[in-house]
């Protein structure tokens, strides 16, 4: 019936096989980035040949976008079709943010944009010019984990871990909004994040505990 139902009837998003070393990771990311570059090349000629887009021929003009990601200023030239999620993962190599349903239903891609939690799959990166983005990679200070990350470990707020970055970023939003006063309130205000393993009791306990400590 809804996008949510479609999510529940489709197979769980599979995490790729774990890489054994840094080399494997480089090559997997490299392949994906090459694929992305090939798409850009295909798009580019039509954009340059067609100076003013006519109704019959579609053209995409690269957009210049400035983002501050985890405190670091970035200047990017992007295809306007790229979601913020795809730019984080594929252009900036910040693969902590996960792509689950890519429909806004699962919350795995949750990041903070100007301090507010959003699903990065449903926003175009080019529409976030000038924005401050915080992802899971920005939380730890060196080797010291963020209190909410610590709490997720302490209360076992995860099993497979795929939804965890989204849960933690959404949990930060939940706490900042003042919606972590009781387990019931946390359940309601975390309903945009789905955990297929069912680690919900641990997630709720971790957020409740961290809310008291932050």
């Amino acid at each position: 019936m809804t996008t949510i139902d479609e999510l529940s009837s489709s197979p769980a998003p599979a995490e790729p096989m774990p890489e054994t070393d840094a080399q494997a990771q480089l090559s997997r990311r490299g392949v994906l980035q090459l694929a992305g570059a090939a798409v850009s090349l295909v798009v580019a000629p039509s954009a340059s040949a067609q100076a003013s887009p006519s109704p019959t021929e579609r053209a995409t003009k690269a957009a210049r976008v400035r983002l501050t990601v985890n405190g670091e200023a970035r200047q990017l030239e992007l295809d306007p079709r790229q979601s913020l999620l795809d730019v984080l993962r594929e252009t900036l190599d910040l693969t902590g943010t996960k792509k689950g349903c890519n429909q806004g239903a699962c919350g795995a891609c949750t990041v903070l944009v100007n301090g507010k939690r959003v699903v990065s799959c449903l926003t175009l990166a080019a529409m976030n010019d000038g924005a401050e983005i915080e992802t899971i990679e920005g939380l730890a200070q060196g080797d010291e984990l963020h209190p909410l990350q610590e709490a997720f470990i302490e209360y076992e707020g995860l099993q497979c871990g795929f939804c965890t970055p989204g849960q933690i970023m959404s949990g930060l939003g939940c706490i900042a909004e003042g919606h972590a006063q009781s387990p019931e309130e946390i359940q309601f205000w975390m309903s945009g994040n789905i955990c297929r393993c069912g680690a919900y009791p641990g997630i709720v306990a971790a957020i409740a505990d961290a809310a008291g400590r932050m």
């Binding site: 809804t2 003009k61 979601s83 429909q103 939690r117 699903v119 926003t123 529409m127 939003g173």
Partner: protein, 325 residues
């Protein structure tokens, strides 16, 4: 996703001119981007209107005025909304997820597309997506579909909770277009599907929603929203009801009632309201009035339950609105 041109509008005039020339407005994008990825929506030119100064929530002469670009979450948490207009706040908080509510605008909420699964299946007929192709829902899986205001061409429900609340509260909206401004009741934004289900609203080409105005009154602070659904949160309504009562000397003086999840547009129930006036606010009154809600209902194979669930939901919502009175 098909290629498109993305332009940022720096003024309302600039945005309207671009839209009048064939551009599509984009604000939060939570519906549009999803449907563009599925190629159900295929705009060639998007006008990003997020820089326009239309995000303010204010009170003016007792009316609550909500800018079209205000975000659902911000409106729901606004002190001018929370206590004086609990029905507006509840209808917003019961919709979507916390993340989507941080993104989605009020104007976009009203113009969101239907959640009928066949609308987004390109290999299935859908008169809304491809006029004249047929309706796969009428003989398909239709447990979530409408029982009121349907036609032989479309049976999809309007998905907005906020719209149900606004229609119940006699809200109006102000729009601006190439030929100037006009205001009209929010209820008149929504068309019945008839034999043109692809035409969903009454905005003229290039028109931009500027703001929504909710009149205040004795009923406002007691109005309530009840949403019945398959999950406790982040789910569309099977049936929902927005109810507002004004009670004096033990009798109902004014009643406002609209329902969601059952109609092809947000559904105001004037006959039920009339049946409440002058009566004592008690269960029997509510049940008698609620029974009028299903007059003319046309249930499909899988949504007969809504004929029973609708009056029950109305009774509960009226009890909630009466409780705090």
């Amino acid at each position: 996703m098909l290629p498109f041109a993305l332009e940022k509008a720096h003024s309302t005039e600039e945005a309207i001119a671009a839209a009048a020339a064939g551009g599509r407005y984009i604000a939060g994008g939570t519906t549009l981007i999803d449907l563009m990825r599925e190629e159900v929506e295929r705009p060639e030119r998007l006008i990003d209107i997020n820089a326009l100064p239309l995000g303010v929530v204010r009170v003016e002469g007792g009316d609550l005025v909500i800018g079209a670009l205000a975000r659902m979450a911000d409106v729901a948490a606004d002190p001018n909304v929370l206590r004086p207009q609990p029905l507006i706040a509840e209808s917003l908080i019961e919709g979507a997820s916390p993340q989507v509510r941080n993104m989605a605008s009020i104007g976009g909420n009203l113009l969101q597309r239907v959640r009928c699964p066949y609308f987004r299946m390109l290999d299935m007929p859908c008169n809304k997506r491809t006029p004249g192709s047929g309706c796969a829902a009428i003989d398909g899986l239709n447990a979530g579909h409408a029982i009121l205001g349907t036609s032989d061409h479309c049976v999809a429900t309007h998905p907005s909770d906020l719209a149900v609340a606004l229609v119940a509260l006699d809200a109006t909206m102000r729009v601006r277009g190439p030929r100037g401004e006009r205001s009209f009741p929010v209820e008149e934004l929504f068309r019945l599907p008839g034999d043109t289900p692809h035409l969903e609203h009454t905005l003229l080409p290039g028109e931009l929603i500027v703001e929504v105005r909710v009149p205040g009154g004795a009923h406002s602070s007691r109005a309530r929203y009840l949403k019945v659904r398959d999950r406790a949160s982040y789910e569309f309504a099977l049936v929902s009801a927005a109810a507002a009562l004004s009670i004096e000397d033990g009798a109902i003086r004014q009643a406002r009632l609209a329902v969601g999840g059952v109609g092809t547009r947000p559904w105001r129930l004037h006959a039920c309201e009339a049946a409440l006036i002058g009566r004592k606010p008690e269960r029997r009154t509510f049940e008698e009035a609620a029974h009028l809600a299903t007059q003319g209902a046309r249930p499909l194979q899988h949504n007969h339950y809504k004929v029973e669930l609708l009056p029950r939901t109305i009774v509960r919502a009226l009890e909630m609105a009466g409780e705090v009175a």
